[in-house]
């Protein structure tokens, strides 16, 4: 840390060393559990302990050949994709509207739109359970898609809203003054510029649905069980290494989402840096 010019006294150096040591321990605390679970999925034995008796892909084989697990993966994909699409439409429209709307009620409306993030999952789930059961939406894909859309849309509104805030509205005006219709201006000027923001919003929305389990716990029938829901039962009943294989698959999806998001962020920063 020789580049840190403010470290002059020994006591400062001790404090800095302590910060590094504590932070390292916290980083280990954060990462170690996720890393520890991965090798177990490649174990040839059926106990979740180290050392591994040998390496094998039998638990992945088990996952792929189990209709229960494969069905849950399929369900997660269906519900995640559909609720992402729906929340993108609703969220992007709302973000566009909120960016232009001037009213003293705006903070109130914004708070309402964002409230699904804050309200505890169990409360939303219980409310939906009572509300959807009489109209036949429990135990259906549609019910879960609608519920997950409600949870995911706030993230779209936030992400797209943030992109619109940094968007130069003069560009839209320039397009209009050059004779572009509002739709054309949106399609050819606004959309390309806010596309990274939209993509981030979609990733957040998908991740929200893909990781959600409380609502699924209340509302899904045996046919609609998602991957996290199947893991929940698995952990409750008996933890077999198949769960660790499922965990590795889920984590791989997360890493792909995170990497894509990071790539988008970097690209955005580069673009901003280039224009400045």
């Amino acid at each position: 840390m020789s580049d840190n010019s403010s470290l002059r006294t020994p006591s400062q150096r001790i404090a800095w060393t302590a910060t590094i040591v504590i932070s390292t321990l916290v980083f280990i605390f954060l990462i170690a559990p996720i890393l520890a679970i991965m090798p177990l999925s490649f174990s040839s034995g059926s106990y979740l302990t180290y050392p591994l008796p040998g390496l094998s892909l039998r638990w992945y084989d088990d996952f792929i050949n189990s209709p229960r697990w494969m069905n849950s993966l399929k369900n997660s994909m269906i519900i995640g994709t559909a609720s992402t699409a729906l929340s993108m439409v609703l969220g992007t429209l709302a973000a566009l509207g909120l960016a232009q709307w001037k009213s003293r009620f705006k903070p109130l409306v914004l708070a309402f739109v964002l409230s699904p993030v804050v309200v505890p999952g169990v409360i939303t789930a219980v409310g939906l359970y009572f509300f959807f059961a009489p109209i036949g939406l429990t135990g259906s894909y549609l019910g879960l898609i609608l519920a997950h859309t409600a949870l995911a849309t706030p993230f779209v509104v936030i992400t797209v809203g943030a992109t619109l805030q940094s968007f130069d509205t003069n560009l839209a005006r320039a397009a209009a003054s050059l004779g572009a219709s509002p739709l054309e201006a949106f399609r050819r000027v606004i959309l390309p510029l806010i596309l990274p923001g939209l993509a981030s919003g979609a990733l957040f929305a998908f991740a929200t649905s893909f990781d959600e389990v409380v609502i699924v716990l209340f509302m899904a029938g045996p046919e609609q069980r998602t991957l996290p829901r199947e893991m929940f039962s698995g952990i409750r009943e008996n933890i077999s290494p198949t769960i660790t294989a499922a965990a590795v698959i889920l984590t791989t999806v997360s890493v792909i989402l995170l990497a894509t998001l990071e790539g988008l962020r970097r690209r955005n920063e580069r673009l901003k840096g280039g224009s400045a």
């Binding site: 840190n4 403010s6 006591s11 404090a15 302590a18 910060t19 504590i22 932070s23 916290v26 954060l30 990462i31 559990p33 996720i34 520890a36 106990y47 979740l48 302990t49 180290y50 609703l90 969220g91 429209l93 709302a94 566009l96 509207g97 232009q100 709307w101 001037k102 409306v109 708070a111 309402f112 739109v113 699904p116 804050v118 309200v119 505890p120 169990v122 409360i123 939303t124 219980v126 409310g127 939906l128 359970y129 009572f130 509300f131 609608l146 519920a147 849309t153 990781d211 389990v213 996290p228 893991m231 929940f232 952990i235 769960i243 660790t244 965990a247 889920l250 984590t251 997360s254 890493v255």
Partner: protein, 420 residues
């Protein structure tokens, strides 16, 4: 328009332009609102409506009214001091016979049993043994013979209290309160008074997790904010990867690590520190560790962005004015991090309050938080009134804290804008 034309050419062009601009602006605002409207309608149906429905269930009390309508009507004029008159007994007998035919006895029995333990038996035994409507004038005697509970005043006050259409019964129960025979609010009997303890437990677990997150998160956020961007971006992966990893994966990982033959116990045994495996999971320790792991990024990220905004010039100025490093840290740096500390702590606390999955999977029976009981009463015992009342209390606490959080974050944005 004609007025404008008469007053002169200047005014005639000025006024319509102003008006046109105003009209254009109004159209723009209406269009903007129209874009937000679909989401508002959608959330009304999939979010606000269902929650309002749940809140309604916390006070809704129509079961007994629907099953025993004549009895409720007959008890309307009863003062509750003595046993009700013959008319009420006859009405009850009629209601029970009708309800037996309709198969709705269980609905009323369940509701009345919440208020008075054993009421289910009273009602079902009466329904079973009441062959036909008693002769006029003998209803009191007949019912009293079938079940002596009908000679007790409390049996009747219980029915009257449950006559609806709305009740404070569930909300009072959720706070370990009940109504005495004369209508005063008193403490519930000890065997039913379990919810305050669960609220306190929920509060304590959330508080411990918040404090743990703050202690662990502060140095990390400080490190990330101080290091040059290249290195801090790299280290940020350690914070973001767990943040993006599924909650179920992380909970499962902690079970694998902390179980009696898990990695932690094995390592400690191998190092010779312990002989017997420690009990690290399915107890409070496991819940706090797993929840801290899940919520730590929510502490680190707001702290980091606050610390990042603190100019190093302040610390340099303090040092150049002769402040020792510790004094400079405590009096210059720390106060500037407080908005981040407040925002991060509130966020972690709010999220922790509603936790369900993690305690359900890594906690023991004595570590379940309020959400567990809401879920239990909804799906297992189907005591929806109580589930909704407990939900209402949790929702109120969450929304109040969220309001404080909103004010705090808003304030930060304002000061951030001034600093720039």
């Amino acid at each position: 328009m004609t007025d404008a034309l008469l007053t002169g050419a200047d005014a005639s062009t000025e006024v319509p332009l102003k008006r046109r601009l105003r009209r254009a602006e109004r159209t723009r605002q209406v269009k903007a609102l129209a874009l937000v409207l679909p989401l508002l309608v959608f959330l009304l149906f999939t979010f606000a409506g269902p929650i309002a429905g749940m809140l309604w269930r916390a006070v809704d009390d129509r079961e007994v009214r629907q099953v025993l309508p004549q009895t409720i009507a007959a008890l309307a004029s009863w003062d509750g001091k003595d046993l009700p008159d013959e008319k009420a007994y006859a009405a009850l007998a009629n209601d029970i016979i009708a309800a037996r035919a309709a198969g709705t006895i269980a609905v009323a029995a369940k509701r009345l049993n919440y208020a008075l333990n054993g009421f289910r038996t009273i009602l079902t035994s009466t329904a079973r043994n009441l062959k036909a409507a008693p002769e006029p004038g003998t209803a009191r005697e007949t019912l009293g013979k079938i079940n002596p509970a009908w000679r007790e005043r409390t049996t009747w006050t219980t029915i009257k209290d449950a006559s609806g259409p709305v009740t404070g019964f569930y909300l009072l129960s959720a706070l370990d309160l009940t109504r005495s025979a004369d209508g005063a609010i008193i403490a519930a009997p000890p065997d039913q008074a379990i919810y305050r303890e669960i609220f306190v437990r929920t509060f304590l677990i959330s508080l411990s997790v918040t404090v743990l997150c703050l202690i662990l998160g502060f140095p990390v956020a400080y490190l990330l904010a101080t290091l040059p961007p290249g290195r801090s971006n790299l280290l940020m992966i350690f914070v973001l990867l767990p943040f993006w990893t599924s909650l179920l994966v992380r909970t499962c990982a902690w079970i694998v690590l902390l179980q009696s033959k898990g990695v932690v116990n094995d390592s400690l045994h191998w190092l010779g520190i312990i002989d017997e495996p420690l009990r690290l999971i399915y107890n409070r320790f496991g819940v706090c560790v797993a929840m801290t792991h899940v919520l730590l990024p929510f502490m680190i990220l707001p702290l980091y962005s606050t610390m990042k905004a603190i100019s190093p010039a302040y610390m340099r100025a303090a040092a150049s004015l002769g402040a020792p490093p510790l004094t400079a840290f405590l009096r210059i740096y720390l106060p500037q991090t407080l908005p981040g500390v407040g925002a991060g702590s509130l966020l972690v606390f709010i999220l922790a309050l509603g936790y369900y999955i993690t305690p359900a999977l890594v906690g023991g029976a004595a570590d379940q938080m309020i959400s567990y009981f809401i879920a239990l009463y909804t799906t297992e015992t189907a005591n929806w009134g109580l589930a909704s009342a407990l939900g209402a209390v949790l929702l109120l606490a969450t929304l109040l804290l969220a309001l404080v959080y909103g004010k705090l974050v808003q304030g930060q944005q304002v000061t951030g804008g001034l600093k720039n």
